[in-house]
């Protein structure tokens, strides 16, 4: 299948090159699939979306969306994409209906079709009851749904969602996931950014891990988990025993990851059960009391940690 979104060596710098928001970013998204761009704040996720959706011109590199060059023919790209950003970009003083009709008209639908499409979308996103209320009165989740609806007016081939659930409560998030899954089943090509590993796991066919403006790993959630090798052994001990326990675990193999706050140590293991027994014996021999012990399949969090050396959801100063 042809790639609907292609990005090659995208570079975008700010403040005279001091900040490299994109530092040679490469991407491709096959038609009808979902790519999740995963990365911490400041990794370049939003800049990437802004370049691909024609809002920002890169310093160098090349990108095409639905076969159209983003830099040379931004107007044509705008005809086939939908964009929903990090905040609900709608007019808050107007009603949901007003907004959708206005955007419909701006997409050059006739008056009647704009109204019909607005009604249809409000129905689809369960907003019909609030259609005639100003957006000001909407909840965060409702705003996001309306914002998403506004990006779907002309049934775009390619959809960009920049952190679609940031700031939503758990219910709103699951709600949004259902809506997005529905869209994907209709065959739209979707590029979504997120700093939530669970979200990428849930929605994306393929994940690109981005850090410092580069893709540092790519694959399905399972492939990424396999990349860091096998399972992880996690041991919780008393705070005073941390150093002794770390020494014991270090002898069993791999790099020991310490979580000081939770008094937890973890190592990557390949033959889980054997190491488990050894760990128990080893720790017992030096008199460390084990508070909790578990053998875990790696989470995407672990993947992220092993790839970047820092957790996904922490703030990174750019």
């Amino acid at each position: 299948m042809a790639d609907t979104i292609i990005a090659e060596d995208l570079v975008k710098t700010y403040r005279n090159g001091e900040v490299r928001a994109l530092d040679g970013l490469n991407l491709s998204v096959p038609e009808g699939s979902v790519l999740g761009i995963l990365g911490p704040n400041g990794a370049g996720k939003t800049t990437c979306v802004r370049v691909l959706s024609t809002l920002l011109t890169p310093d160098s590199g090349r990108a095409t969306v639905a076969g159209i060059d983003v830099i040379k023919h931004p107007d044509q790209v705008r005809e086939v994409i939908g964009l929903s950003g990090q905040y609900a970009a709608v007019d808050e003083t107007l009603t949901g209906w007003d907004n959708l009709v206005m955007f419909g008209r701006l997409y050059h639908l006739g008056k009647k079709s704009a109204i019909a499409r607005a009604d249809e979308l409000l129905e689809q996103f369960r907003l019909t009851d609030s259609a005639k209320r100003p957006i000001k009165t909407y909840s965060g989740g409702m705003r996001r749904r309306l914002d998403l609806a506004a990006s779907l007016i002309v049934r775009p081939k390619v959809l960009f969602l920049d952190e679609p659930t940031t700031g939503l409560d758990p219910r709103g998030r699951i709600d949004m996931w259902n809506v997005i899954s529905g869209l994907v089943s209709e065959g739209v090509t979707l590029l979504l950014t997120t700093q939530y590993l669970e979200e990428a796991d849930q929605l994306a066919d393929s994940i690109a891990v981005v850090d410092h403006g580069k893709v540092i790993a790519r694959g399905t959630a399972d492939e990424l988990k396999d990349q860091i090798g096998g399972d992880r052994l996690e041991v919780s001990v008393h705070v005073d025993d941390m150093n002794v326990a770390a020494e014991v675990l270090a002898r069993l193999g791999g790099e020991v990851h310490r979580d000081e706050g939770l008094h937890r140590l973890s190592i990557g293991v390949t033959n889980g059960s054997a190491v488990l027994t050894e760990a128990v014996r080893g720790l017992d021999a030096v008199g460390v009391k084990i508070l909790d012990l578990a053998l875990k399949r790696p989470s995407l969090d672990d993947v992220f940690l092993s790839l970047t050396g820092h957790a996904a959801e922490e703030e990174v100063q750019s």
């Binding site: 024609t54 107007d75 994409i81 709608v90 007019d91 003083t93 009603t95 701006l106 997409y107």
Partner: protein
């Protein structure tokens, strides 16, 4: 033309906003009317003006001051759209590049029509009687609307540059307030220190006010600057100023819009 079509949809959005939040329209007309009343009755007695009572002198000044503040309306509106991410959305739509700013300036011009109408009526109630013919008076209002429209384009640039509506509002006051007071709008320049008289003479607000006074049938009085070109030809000078403002700020503002980004 799709620019006009798209622009008008943006204008319609702004008018729809006004109908949803009518307070905005009410306050933006009450303020200038309040100025008319305050100046007419508070300063009216103490400012000496040649040829007629103070209200005749005052009205063109207040009209010009009011349309000058269109700069604020446009700047604040666009700065708000910017922070809310609406400009990003508009820029991702397949519409002409100038449509959004064009629509915004047209909306603010429409608002000016209403405001000027209400002010004219308020002025009439407190004794304003333009003595020229209907055609001249109409030309005066047309001149005011055009000046407001030119100021609106400066507002586009300010709003898209500042990116924060409160900052935009603050900045505009710093620019426009001295501009309207360092002029012949509220008091004759002839009593100012000589240096200031020259500054006031070239101030676009002054040439506008003098031009309007001419069109409304009131003789202009100047101090040391009486024989200068802008004092002699206030209408021409005003048109030149508008031309300069538009030819600088229309292309700059559209460029700014194309590169605009919320962060």
């Amino acid at each position: 033309m799709s620019v006009i079509h798209d622009g008008l949809i943006i204008t319609k959005r702004q008018l729809l906003q006004l109908s949803r939040v009518p307070e905005v329209l009410i306050f933006s007309t009450i303020q200038p009317v309040m100025f008319v009343l305050l100046f007419r009755f508070v300063f009216g007695g103490s400012i000496e003006t040649a040829g007629g009572d103070y209200v005749q002198f005052l009205m063109p000044g207040i009209f010009v001051q009011t349309v000058s503040f269109t700069l604020a309306g446009t700047a604040v509106g666009l700065a708000e759209d910017m922070t809310k991410g609406l400009i990003d959305r508009f820029r991702s739509l397949p519409i002409a590049r100038s449509a959004v700013v064009l629509g915004r300036t047209l909306g603010d011009a429409t608002l000016n029509v209403v405001v000027l109408l209400v002010m004219g009526v308020a002025g009439f109630v407190v004794g304003w009687r333009p003595t020229s013919g209907g055609l001249s008076i109409a030309a005066g209002f047309l001149l005011l609307l055009s000046f407001g429209y030119a100021m609106s384009w400066i507002g586009v640039f300010v709003g898209l540059s500042v990116r924060d509506s409160r900052a935009a509002n603050g900045l505009v006051f710093i620019i426009v307030f001295p501009m309207t007071f360092l002029s012949n709008a509220f008091a004759p320049t002839s009593n100012m220190p000589t240096v200031l008289q020259y500054v006031a003479e070239w101030n676009p607000v002054s040439t506008m006010v003098a031009g309007c006074r001419e069109l409304f049938g009131l003789p202009n009085v100047f101090g040391v600057t009486a024989n200068s070109w802008p004092s002699q030809n206030p209408l021409e000078m005003s048109l030149i100023y508008m031309l300069i403002i538009m030819s600088v700020f229309v292309p700059f503002s559209i460029r700014k819009y194309m590169k605009a980004s919320a962060r």
